[in-house]
């Protein structure tokens, strides 16, 4: 009896102690003066996307400059231009940038091309309480890993949430849609409704190229499809067999769904990308938008949004009977292989992505990417939408957008053909058939395994 009691206490301690240790370690403030080197007179250059979070970086960076004496310069570009600039710097073996902030689908490309350092060694050499790597959201940790190498610190996790006009939904007695059928009904309800003049049901990413290409990859899972034969949630190796399935019935259904939803979108819906759909929702003229969570702070900011106190986020809908797979994406912070000051680059990376600085980043408008941030009482009371993010994170699939080196071209190719189908130039079947053939050629050239 005594032995059993002792075993129970032992088991209890075995579970609770590590949790307590992590919690204590997280709470303990890092002595940054001792942890960071003196980099007086040096300049650190960071390249990243010009997303709304740039201002958050600019708010926080002076603290690092004060601690180390180094100057931090951020160069930010549009989505395509960021990729273009980063790859060109890599092909030229240029050390112009020390820290490279990469989108999740580019992880494989940058590792295979040898443009970034493996951060595993850096993390191992640093005190665990400084890095707290396991505190990063699990699905995003998977994203930053490519064949066992850590390509970047997973600090900027984005999830797509369904943002809806809570005030109007309440008024109409509606609840956030959980299936595409409900979603369509609600979009139709608000479009052309005399009670809501000038209101539209939905704003979507329809712009040709990466925007609508990415949208296709965001919806395919939620219609029960997959882009490649062995790429699906739970797959042991998503790229073991990359036979493209872009023209599968589900792949075609995604295009038809986008086409159907055009009637509920604002005028010029075909030219909308990430910013335009967010602006449309923030202007108060759209009832629903599926947007990356990095834009949620814009919706909440009364200076930039007319619906700051009138909206709420929900988990995205899926086809009836399917569990939703909320798209996950976002940015990892890597170190350039060609940087001449990798010590400074790592000091910045570990500092910026640490628990306490991450909290400051989130408070300044950055996306929560650590469990400690998602569960922090101060943050949650300020940003109640973190609960939806946490729910979405638990259901997300790391490879919802491909991460192989060809992913940019694959996504863009899908985007060009989806756009041709949306304009009616090609039927959905023709468009996806052509995209499939082109992607098959591309993958064949890359030497991938395809069973069909």
């Amino acid at each position: 009896m005594e032995q059993r009691a002792l075993r129970r206490v032992g088991a209890f301690l075995a579970i609770v102690l590590p949790v307590l240790l992590i919690a204590t370690a997280s709470l303990a403030e890092v002595d940054w003066k001792a942890e960071l080197g003196d980099h007086s007179g040096k300049t650190l250059r960071v390249i990243m996307i010009a997303d709304p979070w740039v201002t958050a970086f600019e708010k926080i960076n002076p603290e690092f400059e004060k601690l180390t004496g180094a100057k931090v310069i951020i160069d930010s570009y549009g989505y395509d231009a960021t990729h273009e600039k980063q790859v060109l710097e890599g092909t030229q073996k240029s050390g112009a940038f020390d820290v490279i902030v990469l989108d999740s689908p580019w992880v494989g490309e940058f590792w295979e091309a040898g443009y970034v350092e493996d951060l595993k060694g850096y993390i191992e050499k640093t005190k665990p309480e400084v890095v707290e790597y396991d505190d990063f959201v699990e699905v995003f940790r998977v994203i930053s890993d490519w064949k066992g190498h850590i390509v970047g610190m997973p600090f900027g996790a984005y999830f797509v949430t369904l943002d809806y006009r809570k005030d109007l939904f309440d008024q109409e007695g509606l609840t956030p849609p959980t299936t595409f059928t409900e979603w369509k009904k609600i979009a139709a309800h608000f479009t052309g409704n005399k009670k809501y003049p000038g209101m539209y049901g939905i704003a979507m990413n329809n712009l040709q190229g990466s925007p609508v290409g990415q949208a296709w990859f965001e919806y395919i899972w939620n219609l029960g499809g997959k882009p490649f034969k062995s790429c699906y949630p739970g797959s042991a190796d998503p790229y073991a067999d990359v036979t493209p399935m872009i023209d599968s019935p589900e792949g075609v259904a995604v295009v038809n769904l986008f086409k159907e939803m055009l009637q509920y979108g604002p005028p010029g819906a075909l030219s909308m990308a990430w910013d335009e759909r967010a602006q449309a929702f923030a202007s108060g003229r759209v009832a629903m938008v599926s947007a990356w969570s990095v834009r949620t702070p814009i919706f909440l900011d009364p200076n930039r949004s007319s619906i700051a106190d009138k909206f709420a986020p929900a988990v995205i809908p899926a086809k009836k009977g399917l569990k939703p797979v909320p798209p996950v994406g976002g940015w990892v912070m890597g170190i350039s292989k060609y940087s001449k000051q990798k010590d400074l680059a790592w000091d910045y990376t570990k500092w910026f992505t640490s628990v306490d600085i991450h909290k400051k980043f989130v408070l300044a408008g950055g996306p929560p990417s650590r469990y400690t941030a998602m569960q922090d009482s101060e943050l949650v009371s300020k940003f109640p939408w973190f609960k939806t993010i946490e729910k979405s994170a638990a259901m997300a699939y790391a490879d919802c957008r491909p991460r192989i080196p060809e992913s940019f071209e694959i996504i863009s190719t899908v985007g060009i053909y989806v756009s041709r189908a949306l304009t009616g130039e090609l039927s959905a079947e023709e468009a996806m058939g052509k995209a499939n053939a082109q992607i098959r050629d591309l993958l064949k050239k890359g030497g991938y395994n395809m069973s069909e």
Binding site: V87, S271, A280, R420
Partner: protein
């Protein structure tokens, strides 16, 4: 000349040395220009031609194998996006450039007629402001102005009780929106050239025509147009090259969409070269554009000479 040469006494050795020295001196002076041309024009052209015959992708190792005309065959495959880009480029060329020339002539004529009016030089300066704006900036600015939901253009249309337009957001209107913006930006340039041509015409010709009882259309078609034909030819060639290089506006507004309706050759070459890093295909597309520009420019030169 030949006779002079034959009658000339044979050159002395010293004279021959002097001639050779002069040739060497000439060569010495033009050498930098030759080196510059070889390095920055001839070499890139030959290199680009070589690359266009390979499957080079600068972001992937083990590419760059010789594939002959493979890239060109792919570009000219029926239904390819490149053919659409080529069609759109010609469409913009044949709508926008004549519109700019015709509009440019009329506006230049207005400025010409009002050349003695006080303050006209200020108006002329203001009028050419669009040319001075960075293309990417005006592309972004116009995409805000023509934003179907939040842009000022639709707001104005609605104030005038006209129906709002989707502008860049519909395949039927997108290409015309691009043409409209191009005309807005580049007509002032044509105006400048034609105005310079008009100001160079001697007043005596007009006075003589008036004495002979010439009507306005006689003056236009028998004096003005023939005398500014070369200027129009230059405007045509420059604008043709500009349209074939059109990139910033498409990049900032439509990204070639919707459905490839505003895809142009330069943007296609950019996407292949700098988004996908398919340098082989990008080079092939650029070379085709170059050949077309040279061919059309020669046609326009011939037109302006006749």
């Amino acid at each position: 000349m030949v006779r002079l040469w034959l009658n000339h006494r044979p050159f002395s050795i010293q004279e021959r040395l002097d001639v050779q020295a002069t040739s060497r001196q000439k060569l010495f002076f033009i050498a930098p220009a030759i080196v510059y041309l070889l390095a920055f024009s001839v070499f890139p052209l030959i290199y680009s031609l070589t690359v266009s015959l390979t499957d080079l992708n600068i972001a992937r190792p083990h590419t760059g194998s010789f594939i002959g005309a493979g890239n060109y065959i792919r570009l000219f495959t029926p239904g390819s996006l490149f053919l659409k880009a080529l069609y759109n480029t010609f469409f913009i060329t044949f709508i926008a450039i004549p519109a700019e020339i015709i509009l440019g002539y009329f506006i230049a004529r207005l400025f010409y007629t009002a050349r003695d009016v006080k303050g006209i030089s200020v108006l002329r300066t203001v009028y050419i402001i669009p040319i001075m704006i960075t293309p990417l900036i005006f592309g972004l600015t116009w995409s805000y102005i023509l934003n179907p939901l939040l842009g000022i253009m639709n707001h104005i249309l609605m104030l005038l009780h006209l129906s709002p337009q989707p502008w860049f957001g519909d395949p039927k209107t997108a290409i015309y929106s691009i043409i409209g913006v191009d005309i807005w930006q580049w007509t002032p340039f044509v105006v400048m050239l034609i105005l310079a041509g008009l100001l160079n015409i001697s007043q005596d010709l007009f006075e003589a025509a008036e004495v002979d009882g010439a009507s306005w259309y006689h003056k236009v078609f028998h004096i003005e147009v023939p005398l500014i034909k070369r200027v129009i030819g230059i405007a045509l060639i420059i604008r043709l090259m500009d349209v074939f290089r059109m990139f910033d506006l498409i990049y900032a507004s439509t990204k070639g969409g919707p459905g490839g309706s505003t895809e142009v050759v330069s943007f296609f070459a950019y996407r292949e070269s700098f988004n996908y890093y398919n340098t082989g295909i990008g080079s092939s597309a650029s070379l085709i554009a170059l050949v077309l520009i040279i061919f059309l420019s020669m046609l326009f030169v011939r037109f302006s000479r006749e």
